[in-house]
Structures are given as C-alpha cells and as structure tokens.
Amino acid sequence: MTRYLLKRLGGAVLVLLVLSVVIYGLFYLAPGDPARLACGERCSTQQVAQVREQLGLGDPVYTQYAHFLRGIVAGRDYSTGTALLHCDAPCLGFSYQTDQQVTSLILDRLPATLSLALGAMVIWLVIGVGTGLLSALRRGGITERALTVLTLAGTGTPVFILGLLLLMLVCAYLQWLPFPTYVPFTDDPEQWAWNMLLPWLTLGLFESAKYARLTRSSTLETLAEDHIRTFRAYGVGERAVVGRHALRGAVPPVIALSALDFGSVMGGAVLTESLFNIPGIGKSLIDGVREIDLPVVVGVVLVTGTAVVVANVVADLLYAAADRRVALL
C-alpha cells in the first residue's frame, strides 16, 4: 500500500516535471522578448536591459529553469537593483502585468473556482447518477428511452453552448435571474449562491450526461452478474438486490470519475469561467494568454497539472477503497 502510494506519487512528480519542462520551454519559443514584455511598452532599451538583468533572462535556458525549479521548492530572491524582492516558496515568479506574485494571484482566484467546482459536483452527482440509475432500473420503459435521448443530447452539447442557451433562456427571456456576476461567499453568501446558480447548472448538467451514462452502464453490468442471480435465487427481494448489491457495484467507478473531474475543474473550468466571467483559475489562464503574461500562464498550467495529477492518484485510491477486489500492488 505505502509502496504503491510512493510509486504513484513518484509518477505524479514525473508528470509535473515533464509538464514544467514543456511549458518552460514554450516560454522561450514565444514571440517577443520576455524582458520587454515584463517591463511594458513604454520602457526604454536601457530599462529593458535592466529588467533582463534582474530576472536573469540573460542566463542559459537550463540555468533559468533550475532557478525556476528552486523557486518552487525553496523560494527565490529578485534584485531590483536597489532592493531585494523576496518571493516565498512555492515561487512561480511575478506577473508581467500586475507585478503580483503568481502564487498569490492564483490563491486569490482559488475561492471562485472552488465555489464553482463544489456546486457543480453536487449537481452532477445528484442529477447524473440519479438519471443513470433511473434509466438502468426502468429498463425498456418510456422513461428509459426519454432519459437515453436526453443523456445523448447532453453528451453532444459543448459546455459553452449549454451555458449560452441557459443564459438566453433564464436571463434574457424568462428574466428569472439577472446576468450573473461573481460575488465572493465571504461578502454575501446569499448573493454568492444566486449568482453561482447558473454556472453550477451549466457545468453540473454538462457533466451529468457523462455520469448518467457511466452509472447506467455499470449498474446494468452489475445487474447482469452472477452474484445478483444468487441473491434472487435465495429469495432476497428485488429492492434489496438492487439497493444492496447492484448499486454497490456501481459506486466505485462513479467515485473515481468524480475525483478526476473535480481535479480537472479545480484546475480550471476555463470555458465556464470564461463564459460567466467568474474570476477563477481558468479565467486567469485566458487572461494571461491574451495579455501574453507568461509567468501567469506557466504558473496556471503547473497548478492545473498538479490538480489533475493529484486527482488521478486520489481517484485510484478511492476506487481501490470502494472496490475491495482491487489490490494495490
């Protein structure tokens, strides 16, 4: 068990290293001079040279990468010529645009993303799993057909189309809700919830389709297994057979997939955040790309990668915990 965990974590670190190399390499493929980008449009050649000196952009690539890695692990210092600017570990550098530390910038964005992820997960678990179960248990009926069609349509809808349609319907025509603007939970919990409702629905419904399919197929698979026949042959009522035995088999994949999705949403639900203007991590990536704010892009990609990779490990552990047959070697 411990060995398995260590092995998986080792693999996770490897993935992140590869990711950091790739993304750091891109840093240098980018058009334009990083020093000029960092300094801004109005800098003189001299100022640009000074910035290059400060950020160590004159060093060879591998030296810079080493500094970058050390910054993540131990923090680093930048000299501005007159003063020493300290950047605590995990240091991802400073934004070109705002001169804010990338780490704190991402931390600032975290609550919005977390709000979105949690609410959406509740929706996809309730609606997605519920739909899947219903269509598995009402097999052959009109309910199943209707649910299958709905689920299929859901699978085919990109999240931003779903969001746009919901916006049109709920905000523009029915006018049930105003166009959502993000309000932090700490400012006003009630407003926070009202404004997050539409993003939650959008992302939650979008993911629901996948969960409905998964739940349906794993429930049907379990129902077809021999041990279900055993309990039927022993006079166990249908309700107990389904509730105790069939559902039990459907749980592990749903849990594992939820962990994965939660990870990737935490790493940035770029489309949803962008559509609803939620100041989350994904939004900061898009903003960073638009403004060619490379330290932010690099930082967000690494944080996202970490979220996804950690989610992978957690998903495996949860799956193994839920399905006792899987031995962790």
Binding site: E225, D226, H227, R229, T230, F231, R232, A233, Y234, G235, V236, G237, A240, R244, H245, R248, G249, D323, R324, R325, L329
Partner: protein, 562 residues
Amino acid sequence: MTPVIPVTEQLIEVEDLTVDFVSGGETVRAVDGLSFSLAAGRAIGLVGESGSGKSTVAGALLGLHRGTGARVGGAVRVGGTDVGTASDRELRALRGAVAAMVFQDPLSSLDPYYAVGDQIAEVYRVHTDATRRAARARAVEVLDRVGIPDAARRAHARPHEFSGGMRQRTLIAMALACEPRLLIADEPTTALDVTVQAQILDLLHDLRAETGMGLLLVTHDVGVAAESVDEVLVMRHGREVERGPVAEVLGAPKRTYTRTLLSSVPRVDTPVARAAAQPRPAAGEVLLEAVGLRREFRRGRRSVAAVDGVSLTVGAGETLGVVGESGSGKTTLGRMLVRLLDPTDGRLRYRGAEIAAASEKELRPHRRELQMIFQDPVASLNPRRSVGESVADPLRAAGAADEERIVARVRELLERVGLDPDRYDRYPHEFSGGQRQRVGIARALAAEPRLIVCDEPVSALDVTTQAQVVALLAELQRELGLALVFIAHDLAVVRQVSDRVAVMRDGRIVEQGTVEEVYGAPSDPYTRRLLAAVPVLDPVLAAARRSARKALPEPAGNVVAV
C-alpha cells in the same frame, strides 16, 4: 386432475416442462416435455452434455426464468409450491428456505463487496425473523459445518480472499443456512480440481446423510453423478433419454445414446482398452530430453518458479502423459518443450541438438518438427482467417510457393482429420469445438512434425467429442510414428492415451513411470490422493472409495488451501 401421490411426499414434481428462449426473433427450445419427480430426502442427477438443457431445468425449479423473457410451459411443483403460478412473494419464500441452489462458479456467484458471513446472514434474515446478531452467529455456524477452518474469523473475509474450494463451501453454507429440504447443485464441482471436487462431493454426501435433504445434481460428468445420487436422468437436446436408479442406468443402459455416453467416459477402474496397447518399437531413439528445466515468472519483485527442475525424456513414437492440477506448471512445461517459452534454466536437447537457449534462427531447422495442439479451440484459430489458410501457414512459412500444391495438401490434411475438404474457405466460428480441434491437429500435421505437445486438447470438449478426438490422435500417432506429450488434468484420459506418465505438482514431477506403474502401484502420496479422488462410474465402488478417501491422511496445510 388429482395428484395420486400426496403433495408432501414429493419434493419435486415436474410435468411436461418446456422452456423456450427467444432471441432476435428466433425461438430455441431448451427443454422439451420433461417430466420427473423426486421424493423427499432422495437424490437425482440430471446428466447431459452441453446444450442438453439440464441447467435450464434447475433454474426452472426456482422460477428463475420469470421476467427474463423465457417462455416456460408445463407444471413445476417444488415442496408443494406451484412455481408457475406462485406469486412473487410465495416464490421468494420458496427460494432459499425450501429449495436452495449452489452454482457452478463460486467466485462470481458471491458478491465481491461484502464479507461472506454477512451474505449468508442476509439470506438467513430474509427467511427468518432473526436479529442481525443471531443471523451472523448462524452464518458462522454453517461455515463451520461445511469445514471452513476458523469460521468465526473467516466469516469476515470477502470472497476473493478464499480459494476455489472454500468459495464453493461458502455457497453450500449459504444453502444450508435456512435448512432447506432440497438442494439444487448446478455443476457444483466443474470449476474445481479433482481432489477438491472429491472433498466437495464428500461434504454434500455427509450433509445429506445428516440433514436428510433432497438433492438435485446437475452435471456433465457421469462419474460425479455416480458418486452422489440415487437416480439419474440422462438428457439430450432438452429431452429425457433415459431415467432410472443410478446403478441400473450406468450399469445396464437401455438407450444407444446412454451407451455411447458411457463408453466415451475415460475410466481409471477398467483395464486399458487402448488401440495401441501392443508394445511400441521399444525404447526407440530419444527425441527430446529435458534436464533440470526451470521457468520463473516475475510477480512484482518476487519471482515464482512455475516449473522447477523438471527432467524427462520423450522417445520417438511414444506418448508421455503429464498430469497435474491447476497451477502445477504443466502448461508452462509444455510450452517450454516446443520453445514457445524460454526456459530460465536447464537443458533441452532435441535429437542431440541443445535448444534450451537457442536463438530463433538456430531453432529454425527444428521448429517445424516440434508442434503443439492447444486447449482452447476458440483461441487457437485466428477468427479472421479461413481454416484452410490457417492450416496452410506452416507450408507457406516453409517456403512452398505453388498455390495449387498447397491447397491440395491442405485439403488432404483436412480430410485426414475427418473434415470436409470443401470447407477450406470457411471461418472458425462456423465449426464446432471438436471440429476446430481437428483443424488444429491438421495445422500441426502440416508442418510434418516428429513430436506434438497436446496441451489439454480435449478438456474443453464434451465427453463424446472428447473420445473421438482422442481416438483420432492415437490413430495419427500410429500411422505417422509421432511422439506425443499429452498434458491434461484428467487422470483417466491420460491413462487412456499414454505409455508413460509424469505426475506434476507445484512445478515438479513427483512421480514418473509407465502407466501400469503409476496407476497400478503409485508410490507418491500425492499421486495416491489424486487417484483416490477420481470419480468412478460404479456407485458401489464409489461408496467404497469414499470411505477409503477418509482414511487417507490429508497433507499438512492442505485443509486451509482448499
């Protein structure tokens, strides 16, 4: 119609039972007009080959076809309940409490997510108003009864932590929980090794003696039925062929099919009736010699020796039988002998040439002479290539270019193994299991081998087909002077075909000698236990062997292992 016999006396009454399965607009009649009855406390065996409908009958007794789309006709009464007309509630009360069922595959028949004790307790509580605690105590009690050591602790284990034999004991314990009057066992020992099979059959026998419950045993193995039941019903194509007391049906069968079936069963209790019983060109040239052959497989960090220091020789034209239970390493050995697997250690000499570590290039001149016939008739032929093409493979690989001669040779080979040569262009799925095995034989022959390793060549086949394939192999051997290494778990089959026999256990050969030596006077205790476990067709002899088995000492550690 008033029943002539009081209902209570008869545990099972089946009258004119038909079961139709409808799939894709096609109706298949699985059971066709079957009638029989079973008195309380008696045992009946439904015997038949695959597709005879015997398991379908077992399911129909508990109404398991209800709601599956199968059409059930006729009348079925079990313990006074009319299964056809009973309400769902009555049916549930019947299932488990009056009649309990034991299934073939004990692993998949238990819920992998719950402790075995809890599963038994759940069933017990369905039929009694016992408390949770009482139900759990009952589960431990029945687990103990079926011989699970340390039952109180083992009740918390999940099915995958048990061995095959223990899982089957667990299922039997579940059946016992509510003290049913009838036990329905559907191929209860088919997935088990022969020694474990004997233990399970003995357990069933003891339980019946103790509780007086009736037994309906479904099996393809006539020997298993002979060991366990009072009466047999031989089935074929969903119909009854013959029914009567076990000694009568097996001793003096009236119908042709029963006679064929019985004569096809290889036996250990009758003199060897081999076609090739006459002595061979004694101790001809030694074809293949293995010395200290060893093969390890990596299991994570450890390595496990599947074959551990095996030495043997195969002479030209002779048959060496290799018997062993699952996990004994016999298949690994077979694959090493033809160099499909590389030995980790040891020497392998083919006609004087050392081939244990030879490269593929050095092997080339010998490759064709060492062929193999595989166990699984489905997996051994490429489903995407016609059988003719598969058989032609060795010819083409040897560089034969003349298409006409290749086709002619393949047709000749197909004909030789008893297949219609015009089916050259047909694909494997159009052939039955036995026919596919014949194609496999033709393919092996196409390479003009001197030695063929047959790895469980008949274990996936029905007993009558099995007899035909074995006969074909013997015939070809005589005709072509082939040497055979015949690997099987079935002691009776090996006895029937072999000149010499090697008994394998845990990767080693525990005993080796002529058939007469090994079967007549086994020296190794394991061999003796194996032989004692083989079911025999004579019920009287079976009873005698059962008490003899009890006298045999169990090897240390084996109780927990099964």
